[in-house]
């Protein structure tokens, strides 16, 4: 192949990637710049990308226009609890599905996959009624308990665990390790990339979750950030986009931080599991 042709192909590839990048990045950039605009600047037509002077005070306004400390605390507690509980459920479940032979194994695994495919919108009413029955609606539990088992996580981790040679586990049994020690000292350390990936997906989806807390909560004290920010619209009037965007930036920052922290492990996980 001659080099002109190759340059051409590379050029097209770079151009296409740039377009895709722009499409993904633009709303994000728009959110950040809007969060720094004044109110009139959000309204002018044609719109301008950058504010004349960054209005850092928008963030203060946003945070003061509701009990944002409570919202933030709720978001953190709910998201972290979900991740911790999911790990506690997922690791033994995946270990059992990957390395044990038991009656009804295929049936139960099929159940897990089925659970993975049913959206929350289908189940929220019975779940709500059940939790109300248990008297939990005014606590954070309705946002945590329904997610204790992460079907996707169990599935992914099982695939990962299946790649651990059985001899390693048998060696550990001969070394007098109990099943708990085997999980903690062997399976988990060998699966850090997978666990980081699952944890990150879980973090993002629950940190950003809007629908579930919306239908499960009925008081300010248990609401998370997403609901709080959505309510900015109502408290500040429909057109205060600069304040709403400031709230959104606050919501997104932790996700970016966590992603930066885990990205290496995540790439590893996909390489290992042969997805990449």
């Amino acid at each position: 192949m001659n080099s002109k042709w190759r340059y051409g192909v590379t050029g097209i590839s770079v151009a296409l990637k740039s377009v895709v990048l722009l499409i993904f990045l633009f709303p994000f950039v728009w959110m950040i710049t809007t969060s720094l605009k004044t109110f009139p600047e959000t309204m002018i037509f044609p719109p301008k990308l950058l504010p004349a002077l960054p209005q850092w005070s928008n963030f203060v306004t946003a945070m003061q226009s509701g009990p944002f400390l409570t919202y933030t605390k709720n978001s953190i507690i709910v998201t972290l609890s979900i991740i911790v509980i999911q790990m506690l459920v997922m690791i033994p479940a995946a270990y059992a599905f990957a390395k044990y032979k038991f009656r009804g194994q295929h049936f139960f695994f099929a159940l897990v996959l089925l659970a993975f495919m049913i959206p929350g919108q289908v189940t929220f009413i019975p779940i709500y009624l059940m939790l109300a029955d248990w008297g939990l609606v005014h606590t954070l539990w309705p946002q945590i308990l329904p997610f204790a088992a992460n079907a996707f996580g169990i599935f992914l981790l099982r695939q990962y665990f299946m790649q651990v040679p059985s001899e390693i586990i048998e060696s550990a049994r001969l070394d007098n390790a109990n099943e708990f020690t085997i999980m903690r000292k062997i399976m988990v350390p060998m699966s850090i990339p997978a666990l980081a990936t699952i944890g990150l997906f879980s973090f993002v989806s629950h940190w950003n979750d809007y629908f579930w807390p919306l239908v499960m909560t009925d008081s300010t004290g248990v609401r998370p950030l997403t609901i709080g920010i959505a309510m900015l619209r109502e408290t500040e009037g429909i057109s205060n986009w600069h304040i709403i965007m400031a709230g959104n930036v606050v919501l997104v920052v932790p996700i970016l931080l966590v992603y930066l922290f885990c990205s290496k492990q995540i790439v590893k996980a996909f390489v290992y599991s042969g997805i990449k």
Partner: protein, 350 residues
């Protein structure tokens, strides 16, 4: 230290029975080698001793005690796997220490044991390395150290040398023999390589299709095989065997038992043939000598002949073995033996 006993042990995987009603006693403190072709059930046997795949029926006894209900970690057994099964996320030290930690051995004692064992197997410099940075031979040593450090009463090894190159394998063979001498514990060693079995074992247990063919010292296995399978499994090349032409009986002789001459011999068994291949192995040469009836391998310590040369093969009567239609050896005292031998002698006159 412990003896191991199998009593009427049967092992099935689903519908297929791999081992049926097996009785075997492995003596305390001996180096026992389980050998046999691939798929004959050696690993299965080893895993039953360890308790990793318990027997379907029958009993396994260690030191006279039925261990059926005892967990693998409580049997006083250590195992070295063919792929070493080293814990990849732990350092060499943590690998060796893991069993001790689980057995609640104190930290000082652990450190002391790890240091002394790693010195024994030559790993002292590598204690803080991760297994992925070690060579095959070093990993092998980690696996050995990890087994040794627990001071097991039974050492199980499943083809531990098969992943090493030829030179290292021979070196490790000698080290294992010395290790066995030093520890004096019961070693059960699995291999499909008869040379390894012959060179290492106190006792060889030769298996085929889940059935024990012979259980004896290497010397006896070689000189006095019980049956055709044993005769043809050991030795490089293995025993020459051919049908006798009556009752489905066979006769055989070792490649080195024959004499090659250029003039007709008056040996008990003799035939004239042509050399079709010649393998010069240094101290010895192996010829394949063929005529329309026989194709036999002959081992000579002098390299006197060339390919396509016509030679006479002669085997003295005391070197000839007879096997019945059931493949079992026919001893000389057997009434059939004289008749069969006579037949064989006449064959040479034709």
């Amino acid at each position: 230290m412990a003896s191991i006993e199998f009593r009427k042990v049967t092992k099935s995987f689903g519908d297929s029975t791999v081992i049926k009603d097996l009785d075997l006693t492995i003596a305390d403190g001996e180096f026992t080698v389980l050998v046999g072709p691939s798929g004959c059930g050696k690993t299965t046997l080893l895993r039953m001793i360890a308790g990793l795949d318990p027997q379907t029926s029958g009993a396994v006894l260690i030191d006279g005690k039925d261990v059926t209900q005892i967990a693998p970690g409580q049997r006083g057994v250590a195992m070295v796997f063919q792929n070493y099964a080293i814990y990849p996320t732990m350092s060499v030290r943590e690998n060796i220490e893991f069993g001790l930690k689980n057995n609640k051995v104190s930290k000082e004692e652990r450190t002391e044991l790890v240091e002394s064992i790693s010195a024994t197997v030559g790993l002292s410099e590598y204690l803080d390395r991760k297994p992925s940075t070690l060579s095959g031979g070093q990993r092998q040593r980690v696996a050995l150290a990890r087994a040794m450090v627990k001071k097991p009463s039974v050492f199980l090894m499943d083809e531990p040398l098969s992943n090493l190159d030829a030179k290292l394998r021979i070196q490790m063979r000698i080290e294992l023999i010395e290790l066995h001498k030093k520890l004096g514990t019961t070693f059960v060693y699995v291999t499909h390589d008869q040379v390894e079995a012959m060179s290492m074992a106190d006792t060889i247990v030769l298996m085929n299709k889940g059935v024990i063919q012979q259980e004896a010292s290497p010397d006896l296995i070689y000189r006095e095989p019980n049956n055709r399978f044993t005769a043809q499994f050991v030795g490089v090349p293995p025993m020459n065997v051919a049908p006798l032409g009556t009752d489905g009986a066979h006769f055989g002789f070792r490649p080195e038992s024959a004499v090659l001459t250029r003039t007709p011999s008056d040996a008990w068994f003799r035939y004239k043939g042509v050399i079709t291949t010649r393998e010069m192995l240094g101290s010895e040469t192996i010829y394949q000598v063929k005529n329309e009836q026989f194709t036999f391998m002959i081992k000579c310590y002098e390299d006197l002949f060339t390919v396509d040369e016509h030679v006479y093969v002669g085997v003295p009567v005391e070197k000839i073995m007879l096997f019945g239609a059931d493949e079992n050896r026919i001893p000389r005292e057997d009434p059939r033996a004289a008749d069969y031998l006579e037949r064989l002698r006449r064959q040479g006159d034709e």
